[in-house]
Symmetry: C2
Subunit: 211 residues, 2 copies
């Protein structure tokens, strides 16, 4: 189902049929990622992108309809890269809480390393809200079904997984800002312990803490 | 301390000295909030703002240096409004967890009601990252000192409050997106219970859930 919809009609950018065409399209995407990340979507021009890619300006229109079309493709690209990175960082068979820990640390490193791509996703909210919304709604769907499996395996308790997923994504997002984008070192082990401690136990006072 | 720095030199927009001047400045700020919120900072022009405020275009420059200056002032304004709203929504003497619950619900209603102002804050990241960073860093400082007081009163356990505050802000932010901006009804009681249940207990399996 998901695959059908991803490869369906929404994918509006023009697919090249040759390897050389695909290479040019990739160069344009990389150049757009850099231009949008550095100066922002609105300040970057199509000629900034073609100059960055080392191609003539007209070449752009063989692959994309307009700037918005490149942006939409970059946001989808970020979604795929993030999923691939997470799948790679989280060894199969890990319990849910260990998987959350690995995923959180990996996400924050990813934000620090791919800051341009990350900013492009965030800016899409101001270019076309639907692109941004689809990005998070799609991610949430996959996340919920992963948590459902963990509930079935009694790795976590049951609850309103939809709400939880937005809590977890918001957590990752803001820690990504703070420890990925602004303090470029990621989370250290103690900080990651604190996050997981929060996710595991919440902030309610425990009996051992009572005076 | 906080007050000194807020009223200090960073406040770069030009302060009118008469009540009439202040009224005009407020009209310009409201018009900018609407213009930026509706079409985005980059697409909105200064003449959109003066037209919305019903003043001549030159009047703008009596109060603001440029579009960026209005944006910075709107972000500070959002910070003040949010603090005032939260102070009003959270009765004094509430325990920390009840205060978190009231604050979370109030924040999501606020995002739904003040969507333009909220979008302006988010877009500031792409206009001047420092404005955006200051907004969250300032908010985090106040939040941390509120949590410190709750730790002293044994209302919550001790921990890495800095990390926790970014978890809590990220949670509020994403729930604000999902349940404030996109599904304009806010959180219902059951959803709010789920959030608080998460914050209170975390997602770890509890002994009562073991098979």
């Amino acid at each position: 189902m998901t695959h059908t919809s991803v490869t369906g009609n929404e994918k509006s950018s023009l697919k090249p049929t040759t390897a050389r065409g695909e290479a040019t399209r990739q160069k344009l995407l990389s150049a757009a990622e850099e231009a949008f990340g550095n100066t922002g979507f609105f300040r970057a021009s199509i000629s900034d992108i073609t100059r960055g890619a080392g191609v003539a300006q007209g070449t752009f229109y063989l692959y994309f309809k307009n700037k918005e079309d490149v942006l939409a493709e970059l946001v989808r690209h970020m979604g795929r890269e993030l999923r691939r990175m997470l799948a790679h960082s989280i060894p199969p068979g890990l319990s849910r809480l260990d998987a959350e820990r690995e995923g959180m640390a990996a996400f924050i490193r990813f934000v620090a390393e791919r800051r341009n791509l990350y900013r492009v996703v965030q800016e899409s909210l101001f270019v076309d809200e639907q692109i941004y919304k689809d990005y998070y709604m799609d991610f949430a769907r996959g996340y919920i079904s992963a948590l459902e499996k963990s509930v079935e395996k009694y790795e976590i308790r049951d609850g309103d997984l939809d709400v939880w997923v937005w809590v977890l994504m918001g957590t990752a997002h803001f820690l990504g800002l703070r420890y990925g984008l602004w303090q470029n070192e990621g989370l250290n082990d103690a900080e990651l312990d604190a996050v997981m401690d929060f996710i595991r136990n919440g902030i309610a006072i425990r009996s051992s803490d009572t005076p």
